[in-house]
């Protein structure tokens, strides 16, 4: 089955970097990019039990006459036949409905605030909502195009972390790249995390791709992130510890994305592992 990555194209130099990153991801993973050139600054995404309105900033509507040509040039340069998404359904005349049946979606760190905020370690509220509701993993790109040479998975033992680990293993298998695992040790000893992996029957597939499993036993998590290679695709689960803990102590995802500038692939709580 042809798998697809949904990309919202911003016809600006910054948007070019993001599309290049999406194209790179697609090439590595063997999936096809579907590019949406927005016709208005709003659209709706209807998930199974949530409807998310995405409000783009006006830079997404920059020079619509050249948008298709610009996106096509980037795709054709790597011999990908451009495929553009045209909305069929509209909730209101200026409010197209975007399907949510893609396998991946690419988001810049913010799609609802001014471009100037992007790269300052800020995930917009809409991106958060998409991550919380989506059945697909969300690719949050680095501010500039950056090929990745390995896969880094953050594993904290939650259900979502297990999902992220499955996703990481899948990516490592698809791309042939090595996978490194990172765990900030909490109250449990390191062995407890290994037991979770065994319990989930992931030992064998993990060992096939695993390079190092680093346990951060000391120091602040944010400081320990320096150990993560700058050119790794970081895979992590989001909002996996329960809504109260996420609100009280802050989500691990928020800490990671505001500290490192790697490409992130985030599996939200609704993500179901695909083949």
């Amino acid at each position: 089955m042809a798998q697809k990555l949904f990309h919202i194209f911003r016809n600006t130099p910054l948007g070019r970097e993001t599309l290049l990153q999406s194209i790179y991801f697609c090439q590595k993973m063997g999936v096809l990019p579907t590019v949406y050139i927005p016709e208005s600054t709003k659209f709706l995404m209807y998930f199974e039990n949530d409807v998310v309105q995405v409000d783009l900033d006006p830079s997404y509507l920059t020079d619509p006459k050249t948008a298709i040509a610009h996106a096509s040039d980037l795709l054709e340069a790597v011999k990908i036949r451009p495929e553009f998404f045209t909305p069929k359904n509209y909730t209101a005349s200026t409010l197209p409905d975007i399907p949510t049946s893609f396998e991946f979606m690419c988001c810049p760190r913010s799609i609802s605030d001014l471009s100037s905020k992007i790269g300052l370690g800020y995930i917009g509220p809409r991106v958060r909502r998409i991550i919380q509701s989506a059945r697909f993993p969300v690719l949050i790109t680095s501010p500039v195009y950056k090929p990745w040479q390995s896969v880094a998975v953050f594993f904290g033992g939650s259900t979502n972390a297990v999902n992220a680990l499955r996703l990481g293993i899948r990516i490592a298998n698809r791309t042939g790249l090595g996978l490194n695992l990172y765990t900030q040790v909490g109250k449990q000893p390191a062995d407890a995390y290994r037991r979770i992996v065994r319990k989930e029957d992931l030992s064998v597939p993990l060992n096939n791709v695993l390079g190092d499993w680093t346990f951060f036993e000391k120091g602040r998590f944010e400081d320990n992130l320096f150990s993560v290679p700058h050119d790794a695709l970081v895979v992590l689960g989001a909002y996996g510890h329960g809504i109260i803990r996420d609100i009280m102590f802050g989500s691990m995802m928020e800490k990671i994305q505001s500290t490192i500038s790697n490409n992130l692939l985030i599996a939200g709580p609704k993500y179901t592992v695909a083949g």
């Binding site: 309105q53 909730t91 209101a92």
Partner: protein
């Protein structure tokens, strides 16, 4: 250990008692929303009343509409619209998913539009608000689609019930107009929500009948005259629908920001209202005087006001103001009733007709039935808001005939017209809905064995022996691209000719001009292709690669199962 309410298995079950509990909550919330808008409108009208004496007051409806448009467009970032069609669309396509912001956005925007003098109704915004409250409560507790749709209906029912102090009308409106489906699963919670909405309204506003009236002594000749009134109502309904759409399309050709457009429309309304104040605002005061027989005399005056009211409503709603069509319909209906009564009284002065207030009531039912194509809503609404059962017979006549005539001229009601034109009205249990709920992906038969064009027939025969299918996709060995299909029926002569086994390649046997479907095609289109080409199955190709086969047999089997699920019948 519970992490999210959405994980509670209790809420995922089809528990009717639970749905009733939620219905009470949704009904109360909808009732409160209706009262908030009602109070907001009263305050605004009272506040602006002192300024209406000044010349610049003609711009007040324009300013209100512009502020309303700016609020919707810039602050809550919500596309403009009447409200009810959006609710029906959400029910039709997405199991009633509505945004949380819709629970308050239309209340504020319509308060600005109507309170400043725009000709629109508060009902549709409150319906949208109630429906959004129901939808979001369902989302918070991870209820399934059918339960969510029922709660959306509860919100709509509670809203209408609270506005008009009319529980049956709320219930009937929700089922007949919003859901389009009469089922026990929906009706019970919707009835409870309507009761809750009504009770909240009675507790906070008092148990008042919206339009009190004197007794009517209806004779047989009045019932006969209702046939003529129904024709008048149908004409007015069609006229309102078409003028509103025409003015809306005209407004889209004015290349100014939407709020400027709303200001222009509102200011035109203000200018007209300066000379004819009857046409401003929601217009309930005009209805009261029409029913009580206190409306200024003159057939031409009332007919003129009717036509002007149609124009100002179209200018308000078509040019970017926010509000609903319900109240203007009631006002226009009352004026149509008055006009008709005065006309027949002029033509047949010797006949003893019932008073004109009765015809105003009947006109209201005729307009509601005609424009919404919902006769029961029209009948029950008028009975409840006037507290008079004695008009039931002429009400039925007017509503039934007006609905039929309107349906004959405009097959879709005002709320559904755009949805029908875009192919987005998918009522449960209909062919379009069933086909929409099935996807090509879930019908795909992927157990086909692919072959390559450079295979000799002998190799191919070995593959045929191992397969139970008649179709074999041919793929390029290098890049996996789909090249064509081999169907056993087409090559049967070669199979039994051993001389051919090592002489013929599969590439020579394949059909390269075969019609294909894509994963992203609509199922209805795929079926059409199959019917046109008389195929029983078709290859599905996406991005140049074979994905599987889709067959009519599998499709019909899944269709039947889906139909059973949607109609609740086995």
């Amino acid at each position: 250990m519970l992490k999210y309410p959405g994980n509670w298995s209790l809420f995922r079950s089809d528990d009717r008692l639970l749905l009733i509990v939620f219905a009470v909550i949704v009904g109360i919330c909808s009732g409160i929303a209706a009262l908030l808008l009602n109070r907001g409108l009263e305050s605004m009208l009272e506040w602006l009343h002192h300024y209406r004496i000044y010349w610049w007051a003609v711009f007040l409806p324009g300013v209100g509409a512009a502020l309303s448009s700016l609020f919707l467009d810039k602050i809550v970032n919500e596309g403009a619209g009447h409200g009810v069609p959006e609710v029906i669309y959400a029910v039709s396509r997405y199991g009633g998913l509505l945004r949380l912001r819709s629970s308050f956005s239309r209340l504020i925007s319509s308060c600005l539009t109507i309170g400043s003098g725009g000709s629109a109704g508060p009902e549709a915004p409150v319906v949208m608000s109630g429906a959004a409250i129901g939808s979001n409560i369902a989302q918070a507790f991870s209820l399934n689609d059918r339960q969510r749709v029922a709660l959306v209906g509860c919100g709509a029912a509670g809203a209408i019930a609270a506005i008009f102090n009319a529980p049956i009308s709320g219930m009937v409106f929700a089922v007949e107009v919003v859901l389009g489906e009469w089922s026990t699963m929906n009706i019970i919670p919707i009835a409870i929500a309507a009761v809750a909405g009504t009770e909240i309204s009675r507790m906070l506003k008092g148990n008042q009948i919206v339009f009190a009236h004197r007794d009517f002594n209806i004779q047989f000749n009045d019932i006969l005259a209702c046939v003529g009134l129904a024709i008048f109502c149908a004409v007015a309904s069609i006229l309102l629908t078409r003028v509103l759409r025409t003015l809306h399309h005209a407004s889209t050709h004015v290349s100014v920001p939407v709020w400027v457009r709303a200001f222009m429309g509102g200011s035109m309304v203000g200018c007209i209202g300066y000379f004819l104040p009857y046409v401003l605002g929601e217009g309930y005061h005009s209805i009261r005087s029409a029913i009580e027989g206190g409306f200024p005399a003159g057939l031409l005056l009332v007919t003129g006001i009717t036509l002007v009211k149609i124009v100002v409503t179209s200018l308000t709603l078509g040019w970017g103001g926010s509000g609903g069509i319900f109240a203007p319909c009631l006002v226009i209906g009352a004026f149509v009733g008055l006009s008709f009564h005065r006309l027949i009284a002029t033509i047949w002065p010797s006949v003893l007709w019932v008073n004109e207030g009765c015809f105003a009531l009947l006109g209201m039912a005729g307009l509601i039935s005609g424009i919404l194509q919902a006769p029961l809503t029209g009948i029950f609404l008028i009975i409840e808001i006037t507290g008079g059962y004695e008009v039931i017979l002429p009400l039925i006549v007017v509503s039934a005939i007006a609905t039929t005539l309107c349906h004959y001229i405009e097959p879709a009601s005002f709320y559904l017209k755009d949805l029908v034109e875009q192919g987005q009205l998918l009522r449960p249990g209909t062919d379009a809905r069933v086909l929409t709920d099935l996807s090509i992906e879930e019908l795909l038969e992927t157990d086909c064995i692919s072959v390559h064009p450079d295979m000799r027939l002998a190799e191919f025969i070995d593959i045929v022996k191992a397969s139970h299918r008649n179709y074999f996709p041919v793929e390029d060995r290098r890049n996996g691209r789909f090249l064509g299909m081999i169907q056993l029926d087409d090559i049967r002569p070669y199979l039994f000719d051993s001389a051919m086994h090592h002489a013929v390649l599969t590439g020579q046997l394949m059909n390269t001009r075969i019609k294909t479907a894509s994963l992203y095609d609509d199922l209805a289109d795929v079926l059409q292709k199959m019917d046109d080409g008389r195929f029983f199955s078709m290859p599905v190709v996406s991005d140049g690669r074979f994905q599987g086969m889709i067959s009519k047999a599998t499709l019909l089997d899944r269709y039947r199962k889906e139909l059973m699920v949607q109609t609740g019948r086995t």
